[in-house]
């Protein structure tokens, strides 16, 4: 992935020198994005905060020796946060296999009208039900507004494979949320 014109390059250099204004600026610029990324992937506010904080701790370690050229800083930070999310998703699966949870039906039945009206929670729940890779594709392209090329590179897939993941993910979301439009 090209790093030409990395908009964060100068800021990272200043962060590496401990410039307080640059640190504030980088946090203002990236923290909402990292928090949203982790929240979409994990559907858990506390875990999302932990992931965002850990991603920044790694960025602080990296900043003094950051070498422009390997990747854009934003792409690198996304990769770090996604890896942290996948670590947590893996751990969840291990726990779930050891202790199967009670089955909770979050579908749009008539007696769950209150839930059906709560679009935000319904969307979050539907996103959480997607397979991880489809959720990652939708998160990167819709919420993080990465281009298809950036998202595909980040996920290590071709743009065609990304398109397929996106289409399947969005079709599943549309089916899960169909009653919102009735």
């Amino acid at each position: 992935m090209s790093t030409e014109g990395d908009p964060d390059q100068e800021l990272i250099a200043r962060v590496g020198r401990g410039d307080p204004a640059a640190i504030q600026a980088l946090v203002a610029r990236k923290l909402p994005r990292m928090l949203q990324l982790a929240h979409r992937m994990l559907n858990d506010a506390a875990e999302a905060e932990d992931v965002a904080q850990e991603a920044f701790l790694r960025a602080w370690k990296q900043a003094p020796t950051w070498q422009p050229g390997a990747a854009r800083f934003d792409t690198w930070l996304h990769r770090v946060a996604l890896n942290l999310c996948y670590d947590r998703l893996r751990r969840r699966r291990e726990v779930a296999m050891a202790e199967p949870p009670e089955q909770v039906d979050t579908g749009p039945a008539a007696d769950r009208g209150l839930l059906a009206r709560d679009t935000g929670r319904r969307v979050s729940a539907a996103m959480a039900e997607l397979p991880d890779r489809q959720r990652e594709a939708v998160t990167l392209c819709h919420y993080q507004e990465l281009t298809n090329i950036e998202a595909a590179a980040l996920m290590g897939v071709t743009v065609d494979a990304l398109e397929s993941l996106l289409a399947r993910g969005r079709r599943a979301l549309r089916a899960a949320l169909a009653d919102l439009r009735e």
Binding site: V15, R17, I23, L31, Q53, R121, R170, L173, R174
Partner: protein, 139 residues
């Protein structure tokens, strides 16, 4: 571009052609001009989902989280001010010597004085510690 391809792109990238891959946008706009009804139908369904997705819960970073992250950031490294201080640092004694000077050798003197004053203090400390030797001293 045919309807199938247009529909697939709408399914994948949503109801706004400007958010589709750059390389297909011209063809998509051309299809929209040629088949406005079919295109509008495909885009409307995709746009509905976009709106639903935009309605998802959003987390805003709290002040406490922001502060924890900022507190863990790299701290500013105070630059050396004079060549003599840099030489002392190269000799591996700069920081320790400055601390020793502050602590005991020249009590009551403010080390944050102008750089010429700092050099004088560090020189005095260097003599005291044996790092520098006055060759004119008969002892």
């Amino acid at each position: 571009m045919n309807l199938d391809r247009f529909q697939t792109l709408a399914d994948a990238f949503g109801g706004s052609i400007t958010r589709w891959p750059v390389e297909v946008q011209d063809a998509a706009f051309a299809f929209t001009a040629a088949s406005p009804d079919e295109a509008a139908l495909a885009l409307a369904a995709a746009r509905d989902l976009d709106e639903d997705l935009d309605g998802a819960e959003r987390l805003s970073p709290g002040a406490a989280l922001r502060q924890r992250i900022i507190d863990a950031a790299p701290k500013s490294r105070r630059p050396m001010r004079t060549p003599f201080q840099r030489w002392l640092a190269g000799a591996g004694v700069g920081a320790g010597l400055a601390a020793a000077t502050a602590a005991g050798l020249i009590a009551g003197v403010n080390l944050s004085a102008a750089s010429a004053g700092e050099d004088a203090l560090l020189i005095a400390a260097a003599y005291s510690s044996g790092l520098l030797v006055d060759e004119g001293d008969p002892s």
